[in-house]
């Protein structure tokens, strides 16, 4: 025990003597979480408050294009700029002046109305007649296409969202036109209500946690856990450097000649670097609670989840430290440990779902993601932060994180023993 305490104290001294390194260790993750949350939050706000300029080339100039224009205006997402030349519109979008150009084809309203009328007439003419007597009438109207030109730099998610909105809009216009055609065929009185044109199927978003006071997920609720975890795992970088330094300074050689188990040496490092991870986590929470509201970002809602959050941070920290101990044991030089640690953490974050949600990954990557300790940690954090679960629900993730620490540390001890077997 005395040797473990001495090792811990030595690690504390080494860490506190490098004030620059300590500042980087604590400040950089804070800077990271503030930057990312600010960017994401302002992106949401931009979408909510400012409109995206789009070009509309209206070759139709009929009821359909009027309806599309009215819907676009009503969406509050777009600022519609009218143009006349499709080629110029294409050029503007290609240059990035507009993110999107919509070209409504000529005679769309007229042809749609006639096509629908033709169909309605066909349907009505069948009433009371034997099917075999009715010849199939081929429509003379060819399908029309609304052309969309997207800026090549536009993200796929934005494209999908716009495509889906326009598709919905067109479907709605088509339905209305069909209703209108039936109305015209069945009555001469335009004011007579024959159909209830209200949507029969609607949807409503319900909080699955069935909580009395559900937490509304915002950029802070998502970013604090994700980037805190990222910062916690970044601890493998200074830990790896710390261990390689000991090898280079010759102090490690002296330790090998002393009657002290390698596990004790690692124990001292574990205690100190795990404490660093927990302090990092506490700072992140403080930033989310007190600094974010001051700079106009959503406040972090932790309610009475603090103990559970620290439990998750503790186990995530353990997993990160275990990885750092293994890396520090194997690496011989800073050139090996530092770039590997930095890159590996980014990879773990990527496959762990810090940037792209796991469900949005390809099947294979989803399987790989299950092997990432950052994924276990992130799930546990989201469970507590957003799904409001209890301790028993996060036990599987905690067990995985704790198991990861044990396995990596045992491998480190085994590797050390084999490498230094005499």
């Amino acid at each position: 025990m005395h040797k473990l305490w001495a090792s811990t104290y030595k690690e504390i001294l080494l860490l506190t003597r490098d004030l620059g390194g300590l500042a980087v260790l604590f400040l950089m993750p804070l800077l990271l979480v503030i930057t990312i949350t600010t960017i994401q939050d302002s992106t949401f706000k931009t979408l909510e408050t400012s409109k995206i300029p789009i070009l509309l080339i209206d070759k139709d100039e009929g009821t359909v294009s009027e309806s599309i224009l009215a819907n676009l205006d009503a969406s509050d997402l777009f600022e519609v700029v009218k143009g006349t030349d499709e080629e110029k519109a294409q050029e503007h979008v290609q240059k990035g002046l507009y993110q999107l150009a919509i070209v409504i084809p000529q005679d769309l309203s007229k042809d749609l109305a006639q096509k629908v009328a033709e169909n309605v007439e066909n349907i009505l003419s069948r009433f009371g007649m034997e099917e075999e007597n009715i010849p199939l009438v081929r429509s003379k109207y060819k399908p029309k296409e609304v052309r969309l030109y997207f800026d090549p730099a536009t993200q796929q998610s934005f494209k999908s969202s716009v495509r889906s909105n326009i598709d919905q809009m067109i479907s709605k216009i088509e339905s209305e036109t069909i209703y209108k055609a039936f109305q015209e065929q069945l009555t001469d009185d335009e004011s007579e209500v024959i159909f209830d044109t209200q949507h029969f199927i609607t949807f409503r978003e319900i909080d699955p946690s069935n909580n009395q006071k559900p937490v509304v997920p915002n950029s802070t609720q998502h970013n604090i856990p994700a980037w805190t975890l990222f910062a916690i795992f970044f601890i493998i970088l200074p830990l790896g450097i710390n261990m390689v330094n000991e090898k280079n300074q010759g102090t490690f050689v002296r330790l090998r000649t002393q009657p002290v188990p390698y596990a004790t040496v690692l124990g001292g490092k574990t205690i100190v670097f795990l404490s660093v991870a927990l302090v990092q986590f506490a700072l992140m929470l403080l930033v989310g609670l007190y600094l974010f509201p001051l700079i106009g970002l959503p406040k972090l809602e932790i309610a009475n989840k603090l103990p559970l959050l620290f439990v998750v941070a503790f186990f995530a920290g353990l997993a990160a430290v275990g990885l750092g101990l293994l890396l520090g044991t194997i690496a011989k030089t800073q050139e090996q440990s530092a770039p590997f640690a930095a890159t590996f953490v980014v990879i773990l974050a990527a496959i762990g779902g810090v940037w792209v949600p796991v469900f949005a990954m390809p099947k294979f990557m989803q399987t790989v993601s299950n092997l990432s300790p950052m994924n276990w940690g992130l799930n546990a954090f989201y469970d507590v932060f957003l799904r409001n679960v209890g301790f028993s629900d996060i036990i599987p993730e905690l067990a995985l994180l704790g198991g990861f620490f044990i396995v990596t540390t045992l491998i480190a001890i085994y590797y050390y023993a084999r490498k230094n077997a005499v």
């Binding site: 030595k10 001294l13 490098d18 010759g250 050689v253 090998r256 002393q258 009657p259 077997a421």
Partner: protein
């Protein structure tokens, strides 16, 4: 005290043995000098005796104990002063010594007193609270020595303990080693300072290409050779004047 039997070491990928079938006995209370040109096998031999390197073959015992069955006992018995400084540069001298002393199980007042005493003997008391990165080469050598003797080892291995230090530091180090030896510590040391070894060692072995080419008391070795007046003359006669550069 130290019994070495047919000890050999061949590094992975090397064509020659660094130490080959070496037999040697070091008696309790001796100051034994391992002398030899660069690459002769001195550091390899000491590293094996300190359990830092695995021998390719052969065996050794220290105080009747072998490494395989008495690892921790042996580690408490021996002290090592490596050729490279084994110190934490951002810790003070006192903090370095406290840590290394603790790893031998020393603690409390007795550890603090031992550190103060050793710092005083080696002239470092005024620098106890200074970070070792500010120390000169001589000061680091002396601190390196203290780190290896805090637990009063029965056997002390020193790999070139006076390399790169001024005459003053060297004198203090050698005097202190003599005192330790008088107090019962057996010393095995390597050096390129042959005059120092001639004065300091009770017995020496000249080692080259991994084998011992002569051993005995310095005065006897010199006396047995015609026209040899110093250990250095004997050394050159036995090992030649050719450079021993190796990479």
């Amino acid at each position: 005290m130290i019994q070495i039997n047919q000890l050999s070491k061949k590094y992975k990928g090397a064509t020659d043995y660094s130490v080959y079938n070496l037999d040697l006995t070091v008696e309790e209370g001796e100051i034994f000098g391992l002398l030899g040109p660069n690459g002769a096998g001195k550091t390899t031999l000491i590293s094996m005796l300190c359990s830092l390197l695995k021998p390719s073959s052969g065996s050794f015992t220290i105080n009747g104990l072998d490494y395989h069955s008495h690892k921790n006992q042996l580690k408490r018995l021996i002290g090592i002063v490596p050729q490279e400084y084994a110190l934490y540069p951002t810790l003070t001298a006192f903090e370095n010594l406290t840590y290394f002393g603790s790893m031998y199980g020393l603690k409390g007042k007795s550890l603090r007193d031992t550190i103060q005493k050793q710092l005083e003997i080696l002239g470092l008391t005024d620098f106890a609270q200074k970070k070792t990165k500010t120390f000169s080469g001589g000061m680091k050598r002396r601190l390196n020595l203290i780190s290896g003797i805090l637990h009063r080892p029965k056997v002390l291995f020193l790999d070139e303990p006076t390399v790169g230090v001024d005459v003053q530091s060297r004198t203090v180090i050698i005097d202190h080693l003599r005192k330790l030896n008088t107090d019962g510590t057996t010393i095995v040391y390597t050096s390129h300072h042959l005059n120092e070894a001639e004065q300091f060692c009770t017995r020496v072995a000249i080692i080259d290409h991994g084998i011992i080419i002569c051993q005995g008391r310095p005065s006897e070795l010199i006396a047995n050779q015609h026209e040899i007046r110093h250990l250095e003359d004997l050394f050159l006669k036995l090992t030649g004047k050719a450079m021993r550069d190796h990479a």
